[in-house]
Amino acid sequence: MPRVKVCFAQALDNSAPDHIVWDGQTLPVQSERERSLACTLVSSVSMAGEKLYEMEGVRLFLAGPLFVLEVMPQERDVANRAAPIAICIERDDDDTAMTIVDVVQSFAESIGRTITADRMSSVKMALDTLAKKKRPRGCLVPFL
């Protein structure tokens, strides 16, 4: 099973709290500290990481042992903007693309988002690109 650190999405109405899942647990609004940590973790990978893939509504950033997949579902927010979801995962060579695709699909469905088959193909291509990249040695500490 992929070691999913954070699943993140903003609400479509731009006013309800963000959807944040941390280590498999949905974080309530009251968990301010954890919500902030989750947000910072995702941002630190996108800022410090290398952008390995950007195509067809999918971006993949890699920083040390972590990678973030950003995927655009079909739904748009109240301002008619694309409303991406982000999944931050600790890299493990034993994980197959399919198990990660399942994670993306499952999180999207849990918050009522739809990811098209074409987009899922793009996710798989992103994961193929990642698989070709040698896994660096490193630990999570700098990101936590």
Binding site: N14, S15, D18, C39, T40, V42, S43, M47, A79, A86
Partner: protein, 225 residues
């Protein structure tokens, strides 16, 4: 008769030379003003903060590329906005690299970090459907960061999406003052944490023209802040 013609030509020439000198003077003054403005803002860092959908990405894109983003998406993770020479008409500014941050409440740690390392902090308010609770919360936090002794940055509030306010769009120039006062009064408790009320600018990022106007006002504020 000849003398009259000569006097007429001489008078015209003197007036022309005077006009030319005045124009030169004006050009020189304007140039000095731009030079000093460019010098003052060169290498400065701007933080653009604000709730979701307030226009942070749009404003930062405009400041880095001089144009509005073609596609818009929610910003769910930080991204770098590279240092670039910003050109608006005759004005060229070299601003430092900054970051585009998400607007959710989970991003406050990143907001603070960017706030603390910036020279100018601009907080965007989405004027359409003012969420006063959120604005009050954000401004309370920002005021706490600004209360730190080492904080030297200048702070500005910009209300965006004014194009959606039909009353604002229908204003005649002489009515703008009253509207502005009412708008700021309406923010009331949101501004309460500040000892000195921050500067406020109203505008829109809806089109290139509106954005240029708003950015000109922001740069004007930066020059005098």
């Amino acid at each position: 008769m000849v003398w009259r013609v000569v006097a007429g030509i001489a008078g015209f020439a003197v007036a022309g030379v005077y006009g030319w000198m005045k124009r030169d003077e004006i050009v020189e003054m304007t140039s000095d003003l731009w030079d000093s403005l460019i010098l003052r803002l060169k290498g400065k860092k701007i933080a653009v903060l604000g709730a979701r959908g307030s226009g942070k990405t749009t404003l930062l894109t405009f400041l880095s590329k001089g144009e509005l983003p073609a596609e818009t998406a929610q910003t769910i993770m930080a991204s770098s906005v590279s240092a670039r020479r910003f050109s608006l008409k005759d004005l060229n500014l070299d601003l430092k690299e900054t970051r585009d941050l998400p607007g959710g409440e989970g991003a406050f740690d990143d907001w603070k970090k960017l706030h603390d390392e910036s020279d100018y902090v601009i907080y965007l308010i989405k004027s359409a459907g003012l969420d006063k609770d959120r604005i009050a919360y954000d401004l309370k936090k920002i005021n706490e960061w600004r209360s730190a002794e080492k904080c030297k940055s200048k702070f500005l509030i910009v209300a965006t999406h004014m194009d959606l306010d039909s009353a604002y769009m229908a204003l005649k120039p002489q009515e703008c003052g009253d509207f502005f006062d009412r708008f700021v009064n309406d923010l009331g408790r949101c501004l309460a944490p500040f000892k000195t009320p921050p500067a406020v600018i109203l505008g829109s990022l809806e089109s290139q023209k509106h954005t240029e106007k708003l950015v000109s006002e922001i740069i004007g504020w930066m020059n005098h802040a």
